[in-house]
């Protein structure tokens, strides 16, 4: 679906006409990312991150397929096969470092993409399904990244697998059997490594499938925009190509610059030195922390140090951690304000930035040992995180008085350039 003024696809070359009758892929591309897809004219650079996330996934899939040609998923040789990639395989060091840092880049752009959605209200009607599918993608990414981190079979790999599968043992009664079922043993071992490799190879393609649904769901109402006002007529839009292919292309260039800078100059900055020590099931590293992109959730897990009601601390921590993500599934219905963009939400805008600060604080606490003052800070940060979604947001969206809004995207765009219009004719 698209707007009625979308440019129709009209193949001229006989070959393209023939193709259009047999398998209309060129038509699909034209109508999805070409001149046949009108997009709000006012998208800012925060709208780059969807395309960048797609680019990051492609980088992961390509480098990952190559790494799988040289890696061996067996506890006896896994660690050494990674060293073999680093030292012996032609350009192996480059491909592995790209895959390692590509995962971080993927999470960076996805987090910016999520916070863009939170700031501009992209999760609201009519785009709830886009948001829900996005949360599914986020969960799949976390599972994929975790299993990938286990594959080098270093100390962090092993103990990460031990701790994360330990979450499931918190479930009453069936917890321990479920954990043994996931591991295929009593501790992470060969069975675990093999199945994680199999699933780590599979899940990116599942993510790709859900991304197609995410884009499909997006293309029905079309993109949100910085004003949050829906498109009214043709002058509110420009065709995706060449306008946003160019804008996304520029953003992609910046993304790649950051990515190669990280890969070439500081490839281990975001990793942990302990993972260059082979896995040892008898010795836990003194300080185990997950990869940076899990830290805020890890802090929520660690915040529960006491039994509360009839549920023990361990189960509380696990419930809270999963709930912190599951909560996002309810976001479109927790925020009842009809105004999408924070530009016109003077109160929500403040709470948005407090939430950003809170998530950063939780990330910082997640990195620290389980001691004071970090425990109390994690507890306060966790309470605020849940309060934001369950208390503050429903109240703010009811009591807030939005700022006056323009009638259309075009009006908002022209108002921005009004001083120019007063000073000269160039404003048109």
């Amino acid at each position: 679906m698209s707007f009625p003024w979308a440019k129709p696809y009209e193949p001229k070359h006989p070959l393209m006409k023939w193709m259009d009758e047999k398998l209309p892929i060129p038509r699909l591309v034209y109508n999805a990312t070409g001149p046949g897809y009108p997009v709000p004219r006012n998208l800012n650079y925060f709208w780059n991150f969807g395309v960048l996330a797609g680019a990051a996934l492609m980088i992961q899939i390509i480098t990952g397929i190559i790494l799988a040609m040289h890696y061996a998923a067996n506890v006896g040789v896994a660690f050494n096969s990674v060293e073999h990639i680093m030292r012996d395989v032609n350009a192996g060091w480059f491909i592995r470092y790209a895959h390692m840092n590509g995962a971080s880049m993927f999470f960076i752009v996805v987090y910016l993409h999520i916070f863009r959605g939170l700031y501009y209200g992209s999760y609201k009607a009519p785009r709830e399904m886009v948001w829900l599918l996005g949360v599914v993608i986020f969960l799949l990414m976390m599972a994929t990244a975790f299993m990938g981190y286990v594959l080098p079979w270093g100390q962090m790999s092993f103990w990460g697998a031990q701790v994360i599968t330990g979450f499931f043992s918190a479930i009453p009664i069936v917890g321990e059997p479920v954990r043994q079922w996931l591991l295929g043993g009593f501790v992470p071992d060969n069975a675990t490594l093999n199945r994680f490799f199999s699933l780590h190879y599979l899940l990116p393609f599942v993510i790709l499938g859900v991304i197609i649904l995410h884009i499909w769901a997006l293309h029905i109402p079309g993109s949100n925009n910085p004003t949050g006002i829906e498109v009214k007529d043709e002058q509110d839009t420009v065709p995706f190509h060449p306008y946003y292919t160019a804008k996304d292309g520029f953003g992609l260039g910046i993304f790649l610059l950051v990515f190669v800078a990280l890969t070439f100059f500081s490839p281990n900055m975001l990793g942990h030195a302990d993972n260059y020590i082979p896995a040892n099931s008898l010795s836990t590293p003194a300080h185990i922390v997950p990869e940076w992109y899990f830290l805020p959730f890890y802090a929520i897990l660690k915040a529960f140090t006491f039994n509360f009601l009839w549920i023990d601390a361990k189960l509380w921590g696990v419930i809270a951690m999963f709930a912190s993500i599951a909560l996002l599934f309810f976001l479109p219905w927790l925020d009842s304000s009809p105004v999408k963009s924070s530009t016109y939400r003077p109160l929500y805008r403040w709470f948005f930035w407090v939430l950003v600060a809170d998530v950063l604080l939780l990330g910082w606490c997640g990195m620290q040992p389980a001691e004071q003052p970090w425990v109390i800070l994690s507890q306060l940060g966790s309470i605020y995180y849940f309060a934001h979604f369950l208390v503050i947001l429903p109240i703010v969206s009811r009591i807030e008085r939005p700022l006056p809004m323009p009638n259309s995207i075009t009006e908002a765009v022209l108002a921005k350039h009004a001083p120019d219009a007063a000073s000269g004719p160039a404003a048109a």
Partner: protein
């Protein structure tokens, strides 16, 4: 082609013979699908070689009072600790009502061998190996074991006292098969 009257033959209470056949066929296929899923799920459980748990024999003659060793059973770490009288007294002095997972030290050791505390070295929170078995390691606030991952403290009977772990360190099945030999498993 069957005529309308033939198709409707045998209708009672608005249910056709064909409805019955449809439901029966789909149900039968459903049972078959479930039967196929079972082995696909069950293959993930620990395999026979993993389950064939070996028994491990430990020679404890070299462990001096106050010392502990770390060994392994079923690929999991095991702590064997030779408690001194003071540590046993400390463990006995704690009222059971103070414990999250109430157990006396006698329930956690063998009669007449109560100085030998044998537990898995697996924190019951999320499975890290607690510190405190080796010389000079942090033994936590209660003089037993301390898990650095998420800050669980265990006392001299390896019972949980503080932190997120729900239960005491697990005592594996074991027996004294000689004066100085313990068989775990």
């Amino acid at each position: 082609m069957a005529s309308e009257s033939e198709l409707n033959a045998g209708i009672e209470d608005g249910v056709r013979r064909r409805d019955f056949i449809n439901i029966a066929a789909v149900s039968f296929a459903g049972v078959g699908a479930v039967a196929v899923v079972l082995p696909l799920v069950n293959q993930m459980n620990p395999s026979a070689d993993v389950l064939a748990l070996s028994t491990t024999e430990i020679d404890i003659s070299a462990i001096q009072p106050g010392q502990a060793i770390k060994t392994s059973w079923r690929k999991q770490p095991v702590f064997v600790r030779n408690l001194v009288a003071k540590e046993i007294a400390e463990a006995k002095a704690v009222p059971l009502s103070d414990l999250r997972d109430p157990q006396t030290i006698d329930e956690r050791t063998k009669p007449g061998k109560e100085n030998w505390l044998i537990t898995l070295g697996v924190c019951t929170h999320l499975g890290c190996v607690p510190l405190g078995a080796a010389e000079g390691e942090n033994k936590g606030d209660f003089g037993g074991y301390f898990c650095p991952c998420h800050g669980s403290h265990y006392d001299t009977a390896a019972r949980i006292r503080k932190g997120p772990a729900p239960t005491n360190l697990v005592v594996p099945p074991y027996e004294f098969t000689g004066d100085t030999v313990v068989t775990i498993g």
